[in-house]
Symmetry: C2
Subunit: 205 residues, 2 copies
Amino acid sequence: MNSASSPIHPELAELLPADLHNFCVTSAYGKGERLFETGNKPAYMFFIASGEVVLERLGRHGESVILQRTRHGFVGEASLQSARYHCDGKVTAPAEITQVPIREIRVAIATEPAFATRWIGMLNLELKRLRGQCERLSLHKVQDRLLHLLETEGEEERYPLGSGLKSLAGELGVTHEALYRCVSDMEKRNLLRRDKGTLSLVASE
Amino acid sequence: MNSASSPIHPELAELLPADLHNFCVTSAYGKGERLFETGNKPAYMFFIASGEVVLERLGRHGESVILQRTRHGFVGEASLQSARYHCDGKVTAPAEITQVPIREIRVAIATEPAFATRWIGMLNLELKRLRGQCERLSLHKVQDRLLHLLETEGEEERYPLGSGLKSLAGELGVTHEALYRCVSDMEKRNLLRRDKGTLSLVASE
DNA sequence: CGTACTTTTGAATCGCATCAAATCTGGTGG
DNA sequence: CCACCAGATTTGATGCGATTCAAAAGTACG
């Protein structure tokens, strides 16, 4: 389903050194495609320009756990030096994705200190995001988790739903039923608005 | 309470370039001491050689959330390029800690590619650990979280308790009462052993 | 010895998971 | 264009498990 290559995303162009641009291949991906699977040997790093990708791990009983939902930026950064993927990368909404060969990234890090510093900056941001997610998951009520998400990840207290509330439920670590009920409760109490594909907090006072 | 400096931990010595060793200061810290506080400007990176340190963030209602418990390795790696700390670093068990000036680390990353690569490797490990923690926190039952912890973080299915079950409860995102009950249940059912300061799984078949 | 903290147990309550089923939706092929 | 299907959405009922509040017993430390 991949289409022809095209110019890379400006943010990616700014992060990568110029001599890496030639190794980039940008393609369109359809919903349901896999970027990689658990156990495979990582060969490419994937930059999401648009659409949505989730990192998913399967528990021993087949339940899926959403480790990360990305609509923008790299997924699987941690696989730079790994021998195998430790989760699956699945496209959940039609996406524009640029693949960059990991080997070349490693070389660039070892030869271009400025790039290494930028890469570290990216990892630091991801660490903070993950710490935030842990903090969120240690809240006990669905509403608290949802508010925390809107406050910390939302822009202007608005948060885009990639592929519906169901996938958001996975990210919040609750069942979709619980999230549906929570959202409709909060709408009734006029705390939350839901417009097509976006959740937003209603300004209180 | 800090005592005189001493030779740095071999693992740290291996990570850092030789010319950074002179900037390291190793001291003993007592329980309750703070390495840093939310809002402060990061000046040092802290390497825990022994003891225990937690990263803690206070919710708006004063509840504390444990973001990370470290008994070995760096804490607050993500603050390398941050203007401010976004959580508190608290010593929870008497510790040997080496402080390294952040400025020098930044310089070293920008001038020694091999060190940058090692640093990135460390960040990648931390990312994986955090993803594991998110996975754990999205389990719904205390017992499942505890088993997951023992299986993924334990060595030989043994896991050292730094400062008691209470702090572990925080890390698992449950109340200490729930954890106490869970542990004693599992002991009764002969699934778990608790020796002074260590939890270990009982081999099943 | 007293104080502060952890550990432990008990009882009541509440929120979420779970199971079930109905409705709605977008997309497919006839 | 319509029938149909797979998936998402929504609502309902029930039970379990964790939170919460309370209190007692154990423990470390000055």
